[in-house]
Symmetry: C2
Subunit: 373 residues, 2 copies
């Protein structure tokens, strides 16, 4: 099947969307018509989430109301905290996100009291609370506060993660930009999962829980963690060159390069690379940046492959002292905006997503009783 194009539905149109364009003619990314370059330079994650979900950029008063709403919805129900306390410290943080999201669906189910938009914003507001409540409880048995004075999703996450240590403006804005870049990407596997689930008219949490499960895989969201594992193997750029050449010779897979849709470059990569350079300069860790850039050069030269968003994202997260197992959950905190927009879009004009299969199994055969097998 792997050699069969239809297996991956590559280039197969599975529906319509007004949310984003990915790689029209192999390049470019727009959210609701706005270029990713403009959004990353001039906007904020909260504005982008509003844009994706509501369809337009908020004006000043809408934005203020929206930000205040997100701040108010960071607290977690006590029962959810009890559930998170049962999850072992060595569990995969994406499994914590999956279970946390699903359990919230039991405690605050979709219905009259919680409409779809309210749930979308609730999850946007509280996903980092879920991760970091569990994290601090497992690490130090501490029932940490999950509220903060921070105004943004990015700031809230960094504050909860690092506790009393002040959050650097540079890191807060880097993470804000990173969340913008990760917020939406058309019919990628996790978003498509959310749409398939939504197409049965299931509830909002089911669709998001399934999407988290899909994002967890190393061929999707898990790639940023694998990129970090690679980069951190090398101390110098020359080490990296040698090491990557050896890996290529052994035909080992190098994560963080190439893309199913983009053919020549990932437009998000240049943006996050410039942030990686800024953070490394600021932290006096240019050796980390140089290792990454040399890997990029080797991959371009040897394999004609370009880095995707995951590659330099790993560098920025490392410099901001974010533990590697939290890289994919950060992707969740961003992509919930896109998932929510797609679930609402799917529902607005729904048709059950139910493809067909090509049968390659045994021909009809007679049943054999157990004694004769």
């Amino acid at each position: 099947m792997a050699t069969d194009k239809s297996a991956g539905l590559q280039d197969v149109i599975a529906g319509e969307t007004a949310i984003s364009t990915v790689g029209k003619k192999g390049v470019g990314l727009t959210y609701r018509g706005y270029s990713i370059e403009d959004l990353a330079e001039k906007s904020t994650f909260e504005q982008v989430a509003y844009l994706l979900i509501d369809g337009h950029l908020p004006n000043a008063s809408e934005l203020e109301t929206y930000q205040e709403r997100l701040v108010r919805h960071r607290e977690l129900p006590l029962d959810l905290k009890t559930i998170l306390e049962q999850l072992p410290g060595n569990t995969h943080p994406m499994d914590v996100m999956r279970t946390g999201c699903s359990a919230l669906g039991n405690l605050e189910p979709e219905g009259a009291a919680h409409d779809p938009l309210a749930i979308a914003h609730r999850l946007l507001a509280c996903f980092s609370s879920i991760l970091l409540y569990w994290h601090h409880f497992c690490a130090r048995g501490e029932r940490t506060e999950v509220t903060s004075g921070e105004k943004t999703v990015a700031g809230h996450f960094l504050r909860l993660l690092h506790g009393r240590r002040p959050v650097l403006d540079l890191h807060r804005r880097m993470l804000d930009v990173s969340l913008i870049l990760y917020a939406e990407h058309e019919f990628n596997a996790s978003t498509f999962t959310a749409r398939v689930i939504a197409s049965t008219r299931s509830d909002f949490y089911s669709a998001v829980t399934g999407a988290i499960g899909a994002l967890r895989g190393p061929l999707h969201g898990g790639a940023n963690e694998m990129a970090m594992d690679l980069i951190s193997r090398f101390k110098t750029a020359d080490d990296a060159e040698k090491g990557v050449l050896q890996m290529l010779a052994k035909k080992e897979k190098i994560m963080g390069f190439g893309h199913r849709v983009y053919k020549n470059c990932d437009p998000r990569s240049e943006i996050i690379k410039s942030w990686a350079r800024k953070l490394c300069e600021d932290a006096n860790r240019m050796e980390l940046f140089n290792v990454a850039e040399r890997i990029e050069q080797v991959m371009r030269r040897e394999k004609k492959l370009f880095p995707n968003l995951d590659f330099y994202s790993a560098v920025t997260y490392r410099v901001a002292c974010i533990p590697t197992p939290m890289f994919t959950p950060l992707f969740v905190f961003a992509r919930i905006a896109g998932w929510a927009a797609h679930i609402l879009e799917q529902r607005a004009d729904n048709r059950l997503i139910r493809p067909a299969a090509r049968y390659i199994g045994p021909a009809p055969r007679p049943y054999v009783p157990v004694a004769q097998r």
Copy 2:
């Protein structure tokens, strides 16, 4: 999009499978080449699960080992019980299944200690324990035993549900047949969800959790509950005729009829209908059967639609005193066999499932600063 065939991927080949055929030329269902009629008449659910997952029918000794293994894996970890105790009594049982499955993925994660096959059998063995532990805790605050002397999945569920009341052989076998009928159905929405998630190389629990979320929807597994709601509105066949005609006149949707793939009949429906008749006769509740059959007649005459598996399943479950909200979870207990088979098949020859979308949104536009919106 709803008028656009591609939106639902109808008749679009999304991959290959050796597990089942559904409606070749509009009729028929086989699992690994065996007809559903043979399996329902001559086999048992445990043999069918083994067949789907392992690819061949077990011989006597394989079957004995397998059944013993399932019996051994019914107990739940204490932490999972604590989690289930946090889920409110008025939550949707499918949300309990989704959260229970996800949480088990935190407690017994896929890896060296739990390989994919072990997880498949574990979930097959313990899904009814999850549902009924939660059910009895919420209903009576009772921390019920989740083991039983019953040898089969069907018997175990009925025993845990009804407690001391002896399980009738007729009901045990009806449920066994029902589980066979529900066990597998090619690229239906929940199975396709499981495959999309598996295609990112995510873990086994993520794929199953997503599938549960998809099955929950009223256009998929939820249909059997809706069918019951319909049937129980009427006391007599004549009432049913009048009522359904009125509903059709008002263009209300009647659940439990028609199918995306089958064109003239659902081969499973005749089988479960004969069981519905048997159970109604045995329980002296033929009025229930007559109501259902009259609805079937009206739908054939007025809409040329045939009942699907969900319709008469609802009748059999009702006579076996299974609460309506457990109808879709029963579907889970069966379909886990098919999901597991498909996850393993997807992994064996994997390609990321990532379709494309047709863009219908705004053209590229310049960014507008917040003060000017």
